[in-house]
Amino acid sequence: MIDVDLQSLSSSDRIEYISTLIADSYNIAIAKKLEEFLDIQINEDVYLFQANSTLLKLYQFNPTHLNKDAIAKMLAKALMNFPCNDFLFLSYMIPSTIQKEEPLLKLFVLNNYLETCRFKEAWTHINAHSFFSEIPAFTNNIRNFISGVLSITYQNISLSMLGELLNLPSQEQLVEYIKTKQTTWKINDSTVSLQSDTSKQKKADTFTFDRK
């Protein structure tokens, strides 16, 4: 059961295999496999919170096996899954002293910036640590999270401010990015409309009264 080669499996088989593996969640023997799967999650576009939290739980129960680099990786994946609370759930199970040391500290700092929506500081922090840029799709996922928060906050936002919050300083890059959000995001001269016409309509609807 444990000596299955993860690399040889297709991605759906892999998820299925990992799911059966973590059913036996107090067996430290599965930790190695879960660490391996974590690396796959970092390099490919897959994410399984349950697998990572099981691994963390195994560390909690078997402190001698604790692997800080693996925790850093699962925290990075949790940040990439914002606005879900995965990061919070993991941090409840990480001893407080190692939260305050590298390699984990930088992740907790970034978490705080993102939670409090200090996006400019968040970008400065991300750019200062190569750890983040080494994870494929990391910046992109963070950018998408920020876009989501801005979408629910702003009706219209100036182009320059949007570029700054998304860390896309060049005009071309920004326009390119906005294109990926077509139909909902639209450029009007120097501002960008972040909400589609339909969602505006929905908002208006909530104010009409029942006429039956």
Binding site: Y92, P95, S96, E115, C117, V149, T153, Y154, Q155
Partner: protein, 588 residues
């Protein structure tokens, strides 16, 4: 009579624990030597005052002497332990001295003997109602006759059954159950029992679980127990685990445990709960159940309810370990309908909702937590009328739940039952005001009061971390306060924007005396946190107390739901009124 009176009385001991301990030291001293009498009397008085008004009144201070009793011959081991204890008391007579030892019972009292025989024969009859009555009365008798010492051991009591006791499965199981009661009583009276007692109690649970788990067919298990007893059994198992995990261990204890790592080990505790759940088949798919109907343990009420209560206890352990996703996921197994099985025993009902509410708060689902806490508080409010002397233990949990609800109301105001709201204002009204002003110290105070004391799965001597690094309870608290800090100012902003339908960021920043750029960040944060609470699928207009807004470049547009609701209902009434007039026009 409520099923929980017994438990209540029992836990009641815990509350006055220190007092009892002191008292009990004194009590023994008086009997044995007469030393330290002054000190003893003082405590005895205090204790009596506290206990006054309860059914036994003065009984708590000293066991009644006006009944027939037979002396118990102590074993050499008991005598030796007792003497060590005596020496300890003499070398450390301070009232703060926390005993971890309970002196043995020295006499068998006739009423206790009668209740015990009663309990035994009712147990054999397997009638729920009768067992429950004798279970309750046996405990009451013990509280009266053994207020400061442990219960007689099963070896002391078995002779009174005489020929009635047989060497059958049922009778052997009765012995295990009595031992469980013996240790439960010990734990109730002593704050931190000595390690020998902990180990013995663990071994007894091991025996109980193994007996149940090794049965091949439900027909072999000729026992039946009332739900309240089954709940007490599982609940006490987790309580003793929790007590043990909170221990500050002495050097010699550590040495002992290193050689016996299975004792009260987290993985083992979880494993037993899990095995019982599995054995009970209560949550297994129906297809499996048809295949081997002869071994259908779910049809056996003891297995079925033990399995069910084990799930609730497992949720409790998961919460204590800080794994809230798993706790909430486990809870999905439980049918939360109005007449669900957890309502059979009040203590179980309360425990379940307490941990549910707590797990939701730690998951930032404040509105879900509010719903859950509101439901249970409405439900207990209607119950407490019927049984006025409800247990202290439940009352304490209820107070804690009010405190949790107060935190929810501060972080995310929601409509709650009017009665519950009044009670909340009465208990924590002033605290709520200070929470709303963002007073972190009050958040800390309420959290510390209301939250369960979280623990690490591995004691420090194994993990190698120092105690503070692994202080799980402190970690949960600091993460909770961090979240509150992140939310700070949001309530202030909320109270300001309620007053407007549109306001520029510049103007609001001036009003709040903060930098406009910072305000932008805070407003974005408000939206993010709101989304966090509500989750993806939910309709954000469910909450009528809340307001929402959006930013159009530099202007904030506010949708005030409260206001809109009033307008809506006003216009609706006009329309209705018009509608009621229309027919008369038609006639004309």
């Amino acid at each position: 009579m409520s099923q929980n009176n017994r438990k209540g009385g029992n836990k009641n001991f815990q509350k006055n624990n220190q007092n009892n301990n002191n008292n009990q030291q004194g009590g023994q001293q008086q009997q044995q030597q007469g030393g330290h009498q002054k000190h003893h009397n003082k405590h005895n008085q205090q204790n009596n005052q506290q206990q006054g008004g309860q059914q036994q009144g003065k009984g708590r201070g000293k066991a009644p002497t006006n009944v027939e009793s037979f002396p118990i011959n102590l074993t050499p081991q008991q005598i030796q332990q007792f003497q060590t204890y005596q020496q300890q008391i003499q070398s450390n007579p301070s009232p703060q001295f926390q005993s971890n030892y309970l002196p043995p019972a020295t006499a068998l009292f006739t009423p206790v003997i009668n209740y015990f025989i009663n309990l035994y024969s009712n147990f054999k009859s397997q009638s729920h109602q009768d067992i429950l009555v004798s279970y309750d009365s046996f405990f009451k008798a013990c509280e009266t006759y053994y207020p400061h010492c442990s219960l007689p051991t099963i070896e002391n009591l078995l002779p009174v059954l005489g020929d009635k006791f047989e060497d059958s499965f049922t009778d052997r199981f009765f012995v295990l159950l009595y031992k469980e009661i013996y240790y439960r009583y010990y734990y109730a009276l002593v704050f931190q029992p000595n390690i020998t007692t902990c180990v013995e109690s663990w071994q007894n649970y091991y025996q109980i679980f193994h007996t149940l788990l090794s049965a091949n067919s439900p027909n072999d298990v000729e026992i039946d127990l009332p739900n309240a007893w089954l709940w007490d059994l599982v609940d006490e198992f987790v309580y003793q685990y929790h007590t043990f995990a909170k221990f500050k261990l002495k050097k010699q204890d550590v040495d002992f445990l290193s050689e016996n790592p299975e004792i009260w080990d987290t993985t083992n505790v979880i494993r037993y709960l899990y095995y019982i759940i599995k054995k009970s088949q209560i949550f297994s798919a129906t297809t499996n159940r048809f295949e081997n109907s002869s071994e259908d343990f779910c049809s056996h009420p003891v297995y079925k309810m033990l399995g069910y209560y084990s799930v609730i206890s497992l949720v409790r352990v998961q919460c204590l370990l800080g794994d809230y996703t798993l706790a909430l996921k486990t809870l999905e197994l439980i049918d939360m309908g109005k007449k669900a099985m957890y309502t059979y025993v009040t203590a179980c009902h309360i425990t379940l909702y307490y941990y549910l509410g707590f797990a939701y708060i730690m998951s930032r689902k404040y509105n879900e937590a509010t719903k859950a806490l509101n439901t249970i508080l409405v439900s207990v409010a209607s119950k407490s009328k019927s049984s006025s002397f409800q247990s202290d233990h439940n009352e304490k949990k209820i107070d804690k739940m009010y405190a949790l609800l107060t935190i929810c109301q501060a972080l995310y105001p929601n409509k709650i039952d009017e009665n519950v709201n009044n009670n909340l204002k009465e208990k924590f009204g002033d605290k709520l005001l200070r929470l709303q002003k963002g007073d972190l110290s009050v958040y800390e105070e309420l959290y510390t009061f209301a939250a369960p004391r979280c623990i690490g799965p591995v004691p420090p001597y194994i993990s190698g971390y120092n105690v503070t690094a692994l202080d799980s309870h402190r970690l949960q608290l600091s993460l909770f306060l961090e979240e509150v800090k992140q939310q700070s100012l949001l309530t202030t902003i909320r109270s300001y924007i309620t007053l407007y339908s549109t306001i520029s960021i510049q103007k609001l920043a001036t009003l709040l005396q903060m930098d406009p750029e910072d305000l932008r960040v805070k407003l974005t944060c408000y939206k993010h946190k709101l989304f966090n609470v509500l989750g993806k699928g939910e309709n954000k207009w469910n909450n009528q107390l809340d307001i929402d807004f959006y930013i159009d470049q530099d202007m904030i547009h506010i949708d005030n739901r409260l206001y809109a609701k009033e307008t809506d209902s006003f216009i609706n009434s006009i329309l209705k009124f018009e509608g009621s007039l229309t027919p008369s026009y038609n006639w004309m």
